[in-house]
């Protein structure tokens, strides 16, 4: 087991920051979903289209909420490392981040080619999910 170094800590902090961005984004979308009231459609963006489409929920569960759960798990995972300093903590991380990445790519596909809209919040979430996945591979190597 390798000893932790400054740069390891830095990477995990980066991981946490990215996860926080994703978390904030997902919380915002989830809250919007539940507080929407009667959302109007604006001249400018595609966010309402996406958010009001049938693809925004998995049955009764808004996808944004799944995002909140995912990012919460990522945050806790990162915090566990900061607490224990053992890279073993990250052993199974890719098993979660890769499916999440694949799912998020599918959502982007739907957003762009099916709903034909572009929602910035979705793009942010895909970016953070991708980065998190890449970092998870890096952590795996350290283990």
């Amino acid at each position: 087991m390798k000893r932790f170094s400054r740069s390891s800590t830095a990477w995990v902090v980066v991981f946490l920051l990215i996860a926080f961005v994703g978390f904030a984004d997902a919380v915002y979308l989830t809250a919007s979903h539940y507080m929407g009231g009667l959302p109007t459609c604006t001249i400018v963006e595609g966010c309402d289209e996406v958010a009001m489409s049938a693809y925004s929920t998995f049955g009764p569960i808004p996808i944004a909420l799944l995002g909140v759960l995912f990012y919460t798990a990522m945050l806790i995972w990162g915090m566990l490392w900061l607490d224990t300093r053992k890279f073993q903590v990250f052993r199974f991380l890719p098993y979660v981040t890769v499916p999440a990445f694949v799912f998020s790519m599918w959502l982007i596909y739907v957003m762009y080619f099916v709903i034909e809209a572009i929602c910035i919040y979705c793009l942010i979430s895909s970016a953070t999910t991708t980065l998190i996945m890449l970092l998870s591979f890096r952590f795996r190597r350290k283990f």
């Binding site: 904030a24 915002y28 009667l38």
Partner: protein
């Protein structure tokens, strides 16, 4: 041990703050008001636009004390909600209220303009509201179909409209002019989202519920 508490305590603290801030943002978003975004306008022009016109699409009593003018888009889901609310309110409030529909088709929707032209053409044969209802009731199906025109043509048939007349009207540039001028009027009034509702000339904030909407209307009675 201490360090651990600080670490996790700090973590939970940050999470709570982020959640509160984001929920706050989300709450504010749903309260965008048109009144605030309306450009300072020549108020004479504004009042002129918000007057009832003879050729407006009206539902209810033309002499009613309360006039509700709605700028709306046929492909917007929120507009569909409002359409059904207006329908219900029109039944419940009867002679007290006049509902007026004005076109405000958004660019981001593929079939909004088309739907507007079909509604207008139907209106020329006295069936604006019937076509309006068919379009909204079936909104989810045609807006995702990739080919709304086919469904719209089915509506023409089911309303038993005169086909030839209908097609001639669709081609009439005057028809598109009418839609365009509604849209321009809306922009002049500061309409940037749909639906935007004016009750007796005043823009209203998006009400959160049917009852909220109803109260806003009743407040003017």
């Amino acid at each position: 041990m201490n360090k651990r508490y600080v670490l996790w305590g700090g973590f939970i603290g940050v999470i709570v703050i982020v959640v509160l801030v984001m929920v706050r943002f989300a709450g504010q978003e749903s309260e965008v008001t048109v009144a605030n975004s309306a450009p300072a306008n020549n108020s004479d022009e504004r009042s002129a636009i918000l007057e009832v016109r003879d050729d407006d699409w009206m539902k209810g009593n033309p002499d009613a004390d309360v006039v509700v003018i709605k700028y709306s888009d046929f492909q917007c889901p929120a507009c569909r909600f409002y359409a059904s609310m207006d329908d219900r309110l029109s039944e419940e409030l009867g002679d007290e209220v006049l509902f007026i529909y004005r076109h405000f088709p958004l660019q981001n929707f593929q079939f909004s303009r088309l739907a507007s032209t079909y509604a207008e053409a139907a209106g020329r044969q006295g069936q604006f509201w019937d076509m309006h209802d068919l379009i909204y009731i079936n909104q989810q199906r045609w807006s995702r179909s990739g080919d709304a025109e086919t469904m719209f043509n089915q509506f023409v048939d089911s309303l038993e409209l005169d086909r030839e007349q209908f097609e001639a009207d669709l081609e009439d540039p005057g028809l598109m002019d009418r839609i365009r001028s509604d849209y321009d009027d809306g922009r002049q009034l500061g309409v940037r989202s749909v639906p935007t509702v004016f009750i007796n000339g005043e823009a209203i904030d998006s009400p959160g519920s049917f009852d909220g909407y109803r109260s806003l209307i009743e407040a003017h009675m």
